[in-house]
């Protein structure tokens, strides 16, 4: 008998020896009779035409969870959503960038006209404004397309079907079936994903889910991946197929993330958290007709603007900090260049460079600003140019020695590095343990270093 603090139950316990059968049986009978009562009441007062699971519902599930089509459909939907996002975001992104950088010129002219000191216009315009402009123009369009599409799938009731299809993999990894749902939540935001791990009641499986949530590519990282993949993977083939290849590259990174989730979960459940997978109940709710107005409002206000605001709030000071680091000098070299110099050897080994690594470090508060810091790093390190489109970004990166291998390593490192500051703080709050929080940062970071090292060294050998 488990611990009991219910007076009714303690009475049951007292009379247990007096009864021919055990108390579990009595509790069963009590619940059964409550159900019988409830059923007879509902039969009298509730009339419904199709309360049973039949017709369209069953036919949809036949397709969505079918043995042969279940997995292809999941992959196809994921690809379709990303493809719509990538193709759809291109034009508005350019438009926004053109507008915002036109405004930058006007601001610079204004500062010149009032004879503002050079450091002030540098800090405010080249530091803060420019990183803000980048965050908005690179991130807003993909988010405004991706979030409503994802919310649509959520609203339709498709996500539990994904968990139903994928559960066997999680079971094999010794993880809880609901980890599939917390993983999906992580695609929106890892901090939210970590909080959602509360739905898993077994502490062992909950920790596994928390520690692996960062392997879900979050929305702060999607725009970076989409931009880099459009620029580098897209140009490997002719124009007609470029957005398809760019999409597939992002899908491949997401799949790598899911594979890593399963692999690391399996590793953890066989080493640090040994034990049996616990009990798992999953409801497959009825499909619902999506409420388009609600979806738009919820995804645009609650998610898009929320994430954008977070990015803006963090990007502005980070942009200023980057500008200060790039413009304070020690013995003729800027502090930024000094740190870049230290990080460069490691970066080169990992197929990247010092500026990329410092961008990830300064991007700790939020993954959204890694790309803007990277751009500012390159600009302040040398050539000054107007970045008004993805093409200009491509030229800037090529000028700094990027190849598709660099892009691949950055994309993989974006998947495999420490979670953002907000997520780390959330992990600490959820686990109440500095040790687990530290592990949640070091585990993916170590993986990222090893993976990019191997990929880069492997590529160097093959290309030689």
């Amino acid at each position: 008998m488990s611990t009991i603090n219910n007076p009714g139950l303690s009475v049951l316990q007292e009379i247990e020896p007096l009864l021919p059968t055990n108390t579990a049986n009595i509790k069963d009978r009590i619940v059964s009779s409550i159900y019988q009562q409830a059923e007879s009441v509902s039969a009298q007062v509730v009339r419904s035409k199709n309360s049973q699971y039949t017709g369209l519902e069953a036919r949809l599930d036949n397709i969505l969870t079918s043995r042969w089509l279940g997995f292809p459909i999941m992959l196809l939907l994921l690809t379709l959503i990303l493809w719509i996002t990538i193709t759809g975001a291109n034009y508005p992104s350019q438009l926004l960038a053109t507008g915002l950088f036109w405004l930058e010129e006007q601001l610079t002219a204004l500062f010149l006209a009032v004879n503002a000191p050079v450091w002030l216009s540098g800090l405010l315009i080249q530091g803060m404004y420019r990183s803000l402009a980048w965050v908005v123009s690179v991130m807003l369009p993909p988010m405004a397309i991706f979030f409503p599409l994802f919310t649509l799938l959520e609203d339709l009731g498709y996500l539990p079907r994904v968990a139903f299809n994928m559960d066997k993999l999680f079971r094999r990894a010794g993880a809880h079936g609901k980890q599939c749902l917390t993983m999906c939540m992580g695609f929106g935001c890892n901090a939210a994903g970590v909080i959602s791990c509360r739905i898993i009641d077994s502490p062992r499986e909950r920790l596994i889910a928390i520690l692996t949530n960062t392997f879900s590519i979050c929305n702060g990282r999607f725009p970076t991946l989409i931009a880099l993949s459009t620029i580098f993977m897209g140009t490997l083939v002719s124009q007609a197929y470029s957005s398809v290849l760019a999409t597939l590259a992002v899908v491949a990174i997401i799949m790598t993330g899911i594979a890593t989730t399963l692999l690391v979960s399996s590793l953890l459940s066989r080493t640090l958290f040994r034990g049996m997978p616990s009990f798992f109940v999953l409801e497959l709710p009825p499909f619902r007709r999506p409420q388009l107005g609600q979806i738009l409002i919820r995804s645009l206000l609650d998610r898009t603007l929320f994430v954008l605001w977070r990015a803006v709030v963090i990007a502005a000071p980070a942009g200023a900090l980057t500008w200060i680091l790039a413009n304070s000098f020690v013995g003729g070299t800027s502090v930024f260049a000094l740190i870049v110099g230290w990080l460069n050897p490691l970066g080169q080994l990992m197929g990247m460079d010092g500026i990329i690594l410092i961008a990830f470090l300064l991007g700790l508060p939020a993954n959204e600003i890694v790309l803007p810091i990277l751009i500012m790093g390159y600009i302040s390190a040398g050539s000054m140019l107007e970045l008004d489109s993805l093409n200009a970004l491509r030229i800037l990166l090529l000028d700094h020695g990027w190849t598709w291998i660099t892009a691949l390593c950055v994309m993989l490192f974006s998947l495999l590095h420490f979670p953002c500051g907000t997520t780390l703080y959330t992990i600490f709050k959820e686990t109440r343990s500095a040790r687990w929080t530290l592990l949640s940062a070091l585990l993916p970071l170590l993986l990222g270093i090893v993976v990019t090292l191997l990929i880069n060294q492997g590529a160097q050998i093959i290309m030689r």
Binding site: T65, S66, F71, F279, E283
Partner: protein, 78 residues
């Protein structure tokens, strides 16, 4: 007469009556709360693409259980 068939042994499409739940502790409560009570009718609806878990129709709701959990729920086939 002891029950020899569990929910995990029943083919898709069949409908059975719950006889006895062997799951202990909190999980037993969870099952009871879902309506898996002795005497309740359950229909086996579908298996996931990889054969595990399996979805059941319980009092109008579709609930999926892993097969090792379903094996602790004994049923009558009539």
């Amino acid at each position: 007469m002891p029950h020899t068939l569990s929910l995990a042994d029943i083919p898709i499409g069949a409908s059975v009556r719950i006889a006895e739940i062997l799951t202990p502790g909190n999980n037993r409560r969870r099952l009871l709360d879902l309506g898996l009570v002795p005497g309740a009718r359950v229909e086996i609806i579908r298996r996931s693409p990889s054969g595990n878990p399996t979805a059941y129709l319980i009092k109008g709701a579709v609930i999926a259980l892993r097969n090792e959990n379903a094996a602790q729920i004994m049923v009558d086939t009539n």
